[in-house]
Symmetry: C2
């Protein structure tokens, strides 16, 4: 099993796939693509990811892009701890959350990039638009998380890691975040699989 | 079962959920939200969709947003024609395609909005950025579709409808599109479930 990620370990989606593989207990090789040198556009990589994105996995001769599809595939194909909830309704909500985090809140993703999360980049104050997005995030997360609740669903799921990252974009920037959401994200951040990603050596560019 | 969509029937994600429900053979009520009046931001709707987006379903007392999560839920919960491929690898590819279409190709989605698709809005020529995105779309689709191939996978899946819409943003704008992809999209467009959506009465605003 090979996992392709960006060489600076900044892609939130590469992180999600990395955590999924780790949580499942799978052995894999990490292959790095320097996005600043457009290595994802190289013809050899286009054979692996027709959409030229990270992350991608290569499992024997099967390649797959898109972190949520990767997590679902791993969960279906391999024994080990479940990445998605077993309960049908919880699983549906986990999928909805993953899809939402990948397609909405663009202003948070732009103004609070993962350089803030992983490289301690100092950000500007949130724009009004991004603050509105942050409020939307807090509202949606609060529907799923009571104070003191450790995981979104009955057990940890990959949706917890994705949500914690989004919340931590704001926490680590010093933005005001409801206390119980910040606590949840801090606890999720301590998972060994997440810490393995956080602690990868990044070149500050 | 209730499906909430935008009142102008322009949301590609509302379309995807509509087609999913129709293909499954489910009976549902269509509830309309006027996005121009910000009806999706009304407190009553926030109870249904904590992310204040369309589409959403309400199935008895279970509400769910995000079209791909809705399709997965329907496929798991209800008997009827499958919305996702049965083969594990094909299913993974279908999920990857759905996730990609929802998170990439933003310039196509902006310059070739569904007003072009459903309201015959005349567009400007594609920017260089959008043309590059179109080329990326053609390349990715060509990896999955040989000339004359009717469906992406062994049978129709909801990923076919999503891909056909993306291709048709360009076809219906009169942009150059590889012939076999345009033919595929035209055939997908003739599905009764898709025609039911296409033929809904829209107010031209
Ligand atoms: Ca293997
Ligand atoms: Ca249950
Ligand atoms: Ca029912
Ligand atoms: Ca097979």
């Amino acid at each position: 099993m090979i996992l392709y990620v960006d060489a600076n370990y900044l892609s939130p989606y590469a992180m999600s796939a990395f955590v999924a593989l780790r949580e499942k207990g799978l052995t894999f090789e990490l292959h790095l693509l320097d996005l600043q040198k457009s290595e994802q556009s190289a013809p050899a990589y286009a054979e692996i990811s027709s959409t030229q994105r990270v992350p991608a996995i290569v499992d024997d001769d099967f390649s797959l892009s898109e972190s949520s599809a990767i997590s679902e595939y791993i969960d279906e194909c391999y024994i080990g701890p479940k990445l998605y909830p077993l309960d049908i309704l919880s699983r549906a909500r986990a999928r909805a959350l993953q899809a939402w985090l990948r397609s909405d809140l663009l202003s948070i993703r732009e103004e609070r990039s993962t350089e803030v999360v992983f490289l301690q980049r100092s950000p500007q104050p949130l724009s009004a638009k991004a603050q509105a997005a942050a409020n939307k995030l807090f509202h949606a997360a609060a529907q799923l998380l009571q104070p003191g609740q450790l995981h979104l669903f009955e057990q940890w799921s990959i949706a917890d890691t994705d949500l914690a990252l989004m919340i931590n974009r704001l926490v680590l920037a010093g933005d005001p975040v409801p206390e119980h959401l910040a606590n949840y994200a801090a606890l999720q951040w301590q998972r060994p699989s997440v810490q393995d990603w956080v602690n990868l050596a990044r070149n500050i560019t």
